[in-house]
Subunit: 354 residues, 2 copies
DNA sequence: TTGAAAGCGGTACCAC
DNA sequence: GTGGTACCGCTTTCAA
């Protein structure tokens, strides 16, 4: 005997509203979409009925008619490939279910902050409906983002933010929290207290300054005698980083911990190795890339803080789609919770990245 | 001047194939769906053309016709509400974009492992198309899962697994990794070494045994003299937990760390408080619930390992939907990477839960 | 200001 | 075996 499916609850559609109000579906459409040429009273009645019946538009059917698929342009750097490709994957993955409603175009620029303007201008020219971008140089991009806003093209920032612009939202790891997690880890790793150092790119960058602020606040909170004795700017340059790390290690014979708040951690690790202090310094790094893997395995890196680019991409696309398709406005800022990657969960994280 | 959208690339549809092959759309449909009553040669030609043109069915249009929405039944316990409700939220959230294709029904049972059979039988009777469930008692559920398999109803396990059954996939945090992360954290928190203890529910449970194995392996790996001196079974009972925690603290005057691998951590914390050893023992707990929040804030809990129910729900639904709608078979096991929640990222995690 | 009807891509069914 | 066509929910256009 075959099981009898209970009849699924019929969803209310546009013609249910029409029937309930005694008008035609055309009028219902006009009311629902604020179109001109409708009696205000009729509109009100229709909207009330829609509300009362719990009408939810069928997006699939909507986009069936006009093959005007929504076009989204994604603007990301080529370097560092692993990171940005993961982000692109997250976007592609999230866009897959909407393939028939949405088309995603990728426009790359060489590096964060370099050559960002031209592709964005071109995308706006070509009339895209939405933008996802990582504003490396918010100052240069500002006017363009404003122009997008004036064209009613929503912009979602990823990884970095341009909070002063009229963007729809931004998806990123909150830098204060990231720094704060690093600080708490290092403090906990050094219950006996000790001197620690903080490596960054440029302190002028808002993100980096925030990480430092978070780091400091955690050292104070945990309060077991861990002291920040040096803040080093490595200018995202391998050689500068290496030299300054060596100098740091020489100046502080009993340094107990280092937090590298940028992706530029390899020179620091090499300097530690050269000075034969590996294992005697608790190192917390940023992000995850192939060269870091053996260092984590060997315990030279106690933990690394991973910004989860795939997740950021997914959330950025979802926020943008929901706004474009349904008009749902996301919160002004979407914070991704970073992962603490250590030896014990490294393999699992790598598995997910592949 | 208005920007000119480039015409979106027309997707190939069923009638493009019909035109290319010189048959009618009805025939194309028969070929694509392996329906009877079609000449094998015609079928071959149609399929080739479909392949050559890169045909992708428009799922939205497909489900437009027959309101035979896919029905998914979700079987989860009521206790502990916060955790399972988060899981349900993740499912609902992920199902939202497919609301017109998919209807989700929730069937609850009182506790994990209790009263799981009846609702499941009822769901199968009623002819659902897919199942999401947390098998608390895999032995009792096994036959039903097999019956689902024989009815071609895919099953996705969440949180706990029933690996010996023919389920489509399972979504959960790998217990070995969870235990291993806890072990690594505690080891790192105790660079000077010391005695630690492990609290669990029943060691007979496979999950708990795996966590212990992971915990042990990390202690050995980090290898800084941390020793596991006691494994305590609290039988998920508050009073048993409290009594055994007191006994443990009395027996080990210089206990340095405790990992509670179940959600039942409050009695342990109360025992530590009663013995005035708060702050002198590194405690790692499991999951996140309101009573734990102030303990983390106060530093009595160094870290808690959170299984991310929302994410598990989302991934379970996506895997099931993609299989039902598109026939995509997910990997045999989807591992969720647990979050390490500490004071520094607590607020952010709570924000996401709300 | 409103109604009626065509058509989007696909399914189901009837007629040949 | 195959072709033709009504219909799903919605947008759009044209006529009233």
């Amino acid at each position: 005997m075959k099981a009898r499916p209970t009849p699924p609850p019929r969803l209310v559609g546009i013609k249910d509203i029409a029937r309930a109000t005694g008008v035609s579906i055309g009028t219902v459409d006009r009311a629902l979409h604020d179109k001109p040429g409708i009696n205000p009273g009729t509109r009100r009645r229709v909207l009330q009925a829609a509300d009362r019946l719990g009408y939810r538009p069928n997006l699939a059917a909507r986009h069936l008619k006009s093959p005007t698929r929504l076009r989204i342009s994604v603007h990301l750097p080529e370097e560092i490939a692993l990171f940005w490709d993961s982000l692109r994957d997250g976007i592609r993955e999230a866009a897959a279910p909407f393939a028939h409603t949405l088309s995603v175009e990728f426009r790359n620029n060489p590096r964060l902050g370099e050559g960002e303007v031209a592709p964005l201008e071109q995308a706006l020219e070509s009339g895209v409906n939405g933008l996802i971008l990582a504003p490396g140089d918010p100052a240069a991009l500002g006017p363009l983002i404003e122009r997008a806003a004036s064209l009613a093209v929503p912009v979602v920032c990823v990884v970095t933010d341009a909070p002063s612009c009229e963007r729809l939202t931004s998806v990123s790891a909150d830098p204060f929290t990231v720094g704060s997690v690093a600080g708490e880890l290092i403090s906990r790793f050094l219950p006996g207290g000790g001197d620690v150092a903080f490596f960054t790119g440029w302190l002028g960058t808002e993100d980096h300054a925030e990480k430092l602020r978070g780091f400091r606040s955690s050292l104070k909170d945990v309060g077991c005698g861990v002291e920040l004795v040096s803040v080093v700017e490595a200018h995202d340059d391998e050689r500068v980083g290496y030299r300054r790390a060596l100098a740091l290690l020489d100046a502080h014979e009993d340094l107990k911990g280092i937090y590298v708040s940028t992706v530029n951690s390899m020179p620091v690790l090499r300097a530690i190795e050269r000075k034969r202090r590996a294992g005697r310094i608790a190192v917390v790094t940023t992000d995850l890339f192939p060269a870091l893997v053996p260092r984590i395995r060997a315990g030279q890196v106690a933990a690394t803080i991973y910004q989860r680019p795939v997740s950021q991409g997914r959330q950025a696309l979802q926020a943008l789609y929901q706004f474009l398709a349904e008009g749902t406005r996301p919160p002004g800022r979407i914070k991704v919770i970073p992962h603490v990657v250590m030896r014990s969960n490294l393999d699992q994280v790598l598995e997910r990245m592949a």
